[in-house]
């Protein structure tokens, strides 16, 4: 009697085929983009994928589980340093040993996948051609290390709630970074010197990074749409209610945290490879801050949104350097004028779309007049002989990103897509939450004009029958 629509996902096979097709399409697009041969584009794409892994995994904790975690950079550091130490080439290791400033011991310098493979007799895998295998092993170990630390950090701290937990995770993130620089750990981390010369052929490779991104998205979206993910979303919505419905809070929080730190470790491994070295100052809190911006801009809780946010942040970071160059002061003023005029235009368009009355408000005139005045000033300034010289906009990228964040928070507090997720049903306009024609006919309340009279407050209750 029950149709299977509510039990299994409708059009499941079609969706799987479309997903495979879309993946192939993305691969072809990447192939075309990489064949253009632009180094800058390639590294921007790789950075998008690496930060995408980090944000998607952070989103599992911040968005799905509803816990504000600020220590993601700490877990990335563990993954990154583990990977760097394990795959560093032999000549770099010799340099570290020879250096007087390094506090690494011969034993810790010898910690490498190379030596491990040699020890167990797999010398075939220690050649330069098989570096990829060693990298794979190293990065997985880095992820595991990060998840073990995530487990150790998570069990005590996840008993806290809200702001307190945020402060604790932030604290742990910083503790990880600072202990890595102490004397106790510097034989492993090489202290403030870090590791330089980490092979960049993986972190800079679009294929490697996107493959890891694909795996991350696959695992985390499968987790999100499983019963475990639903339980996590229940915890986000209402901890007390989900506990009263039998959800083991501690278990699910720790599970989410550990899976998230595993992928943070993977992202860290790729990040050191992208940078070509592991240094403590490449794992500052600003890294987590950028991820949080990506989350807020795209939509916390949505993998789709988070990836859009990451794309935006990476774009501003990689292609924002024109913002930080030296220009004539008049150019800057002209730019401000144009922004003011665009704001006026935006006000006009918004009020037209939203059908607000009056369509033109005082603020519109304010921005219009200020904009015109600024543009005129900028154009006249050279002939009047004022405002000469140049100005270099240091930090303009961060300012631009912040302004962008403010604008999005004002107009779309939930981020660009909110909690909505991309799916094929949405592409085909298949709305399960709206009645089909058949359902409309069967439903007395929707099909009966007597009941459904506009303004008529009829009651759907079937009590009247008896």
């Amino acid at each position: 009697m029950q149709d299977t629509k509510h039990i299994v996902q409708p059009n499941r096979n079609r969706n799987i085929l479309l997903t495979i097709f879309a993946t192939v399409l993305v691969a072809v697009a990447l192939l075309i983009l990489t064949s253009l041969g632009s180094v800058k584009l390639g590294s921007a794409l790789a950075l998008f994928a690496i930060w995408g892994i980090a944000t998607v995994s952070l989103n599992l904790v911040n968005g799905t589980l509803g816990i504000l975690s600020l220590g993601h950079h700490g877990f990335m550091l563990i993954g990154g340093y583990t990977t760097a130490l394990l795959i560093l080439s032999d000549d770099k290791r010799e340099k570290i040993l020879a250096s007087g400033r390094s506090s690494m011991t011969p034993f810790t310098v010898g910690l490498s996948i190379d030596n491990f493979f040699n020890a167990i007799g797999l010398t075939a895998f220690t050649t330069d051609e098989t570096l990829w295998l060693r990298f794979l092993v190293a990065i997985l170990l880095g992820g595991l290390m990060a998840s073990v630390v995530g487990l150790i950090v998570g069990i005590p701290s996840l008993r806290l709630r809200g702001d307190y937990l945020a402060i604790v995770t932030f604290g742990f993130g910083e503790i990880i970074r600072l202990t890595a620089s102490t004397r106790i750990f510097s034989p492993i981390t090489n202290g403030a010197l870090g590791f330089s010369g980490v092979p960049t052929e993986f972190g800079k490779s679009v294929w490697w990074t996107f493959a890891f991104l694909g795996i991350t998205i696959y695992v985390i979206s499968k987790l999100k749409y499983s019963s475990f993910g639903r339980a996590m979303e229940g915890i986000r919505e209402d901890e007390i209610a989900s506990e009263a419905m039998g959800v083991n809070l501690a278990y699910h929080k720790v599970l989410g945290f550990v899976v998230s730190s595993f992928f943070a470790g993977i992202a860290g491994g790729l990040w050191v490879s992208w940078l070509g070295g592991a240094r403590l100052d490449s794992f500052l809190f600003t890294l987590t801050f950028f991820f949080l911006v990506a989350l807020s801009v795209g939509g916390t809780g949505s993998i789709t949104g988070v990836l859009l946010g990451t794309a935006l942040v990476v774009f501003v970071r990689q292609y924002g350097d024109p913002l930080e160059q030296s220009y004539l002061i008049t150019t800057w003023i002209l730019a401000i004028g144009v922004i003011l005029l665009l704001t006026a235009l935006a006000i006009y368009i918004f009020r037209t779309i939203r059908r607000s009355r009056p369509k033109i408000i005082p603020a519109f005139y304010l921005f219009l007049i200020a904009g015109v005045a600024t543009v005129v000033l900028a154009l006249l300034a050279p002939s009047l002989g004022i405002m000469q010289g140049e100005f270099r906009g240091f930090g303009m990228r961060a300012i631009f990103l912040s302004i962008l964040l403010i604008i999005i928070m004002v107009f779309r507090p939930d981020g660009m897509v909110g909690r909505a997720e991309f799916n094929w049903a949405w592409v085909f306009r298949e709305r399960l939450d709206q009645p089909t024609e058949e359902e409309r006919k069967q439903d007395a309340w929707l099909s009966n004009p007597e009941l459904n009279r506009p303004g008529g407050a009829a009651n759907t209750s079937d009590v009247e029958e008896d």
């Binding site: 509510h6 987790l223 019963s227 007390i240 209610a241 959800v247 939450d433 359902e439 209750s461």
Partner: protein, 270 residues
């Protein structure tokens, strides 16, 4: 043996004795109402049974096992589920998700199997959905079909109450604790809720312990009524006997003040 045995339960919050020596039994297949004026300790009693609070002394036994010191989620595992007085649905999630989350504790697959979508997990997921539809159909068509995928926040208040009861049923519990199931409902919906609670017992086989203020609902469905006042059990028994009990009337309506009482009260104030 009674299904739920509450014996000499005590609980205080600082200086406030919220529960004093309360004991009563709930037998399988009964509908028992707990009534009492505001602040009588009815919700505290629910919180003590479901493990939100730990009693200072006394014992709660469910099917012979003590519930004291267990976590709320473990108590759900044993077969007791509750609803909340001021609705605690997962408002941003769909109705379907709301009814699937309480079934999560019955899942046998682990998280890795869930990520890999093994056949065993898939089968369990289908079973969960079937069970959810079965529980929702208790409330007629109003929570079914396309409404399954609407977020709870678009539902009317009465439908939210129904969803909460469906959610408690979906945990697979035998004993349901309903905290004011008809709060905020109009008389018509209250009558319907009365019928639903009866059907839950008769068709669903649930044992029900409920807190309610609407006396017509209580009178119609209760096998027994327990009256609480200031954390003490005032009376227990048949609805008619209980409401005619002078102590109960006093607790609800107050005592007619005699001159003697007035003098006492004035004296007490000094």
């Amino acid at each position: 043996m009674a299904m739920l045995e509450i014996s000499n339960l005590n609980k205080s919050f600082g200086g406030l004795q919220a529960m004093t020596d309360v004991s009563f039994n709930v037998n399988e297949g009964e509908i028992i109402s707990v009534i009492g004026p505001n602040g009588a300790g009815k919700t505290t009693l629910f919180n003590l049974i479901t493990g939100v609070y730990t009693p200072d002394s006394g014992d709660v036994r469910f099917q012979g096992q003590s519930l004291v010191g267990k976590k709320p989620s473990q108590i759900v595992d044993m077969g007791i589920a509750r609803t909340f007085q001021n609705l605690r649905l997962f408002t941003n999630l769909s109705i379907m998700d709301n009814i699937l989350i309480p079934q999560h504790h019955k899942l046998k697959s682990n998280w890795l199997q869930a990520i890999l979508r093994t056949p065993a997990y898939k089968k369990e997921e289908e079973e969960m959905r079937k069970f959810a539809l079965e529980k929702l159909s208790f409330f007629g068509p109003r929570l079914m079909s396309f409404r399954l995928y609407q977020p709870v926040l678009v539902l009317s208040y009465a439908n939210r109450r129904r969803s909460e009861i469906a959610r408690a049923m979906a945990t697979g519990a035998k004993l349901l604790l309903l905290d004011e199931p008809s709060a905020g409902m109009n008389p018509k919906e209250t009558i319907e809720m009365t019928k639903i609670i009866k059907r839950m017992r008769d068709e669903g086989g649930y044992t029900i312990l409920l807190v309610e203020h609407k006396m017509n609902l209580v009178g119609e469905i209760s096998d027994r009524v327990v009256v609480l006042d200031y954390g003490k059990k005032l009376a227990e028994g048949d609805y008619k006997d209980v409401v005619n009990n002078p102590e109960v009337i006093e607790a609800y309506l107050g005592k007619k003040a005699t001159d003697d009482d007035k003098a006492k009260k004035d004296g007490g104030l000094e």
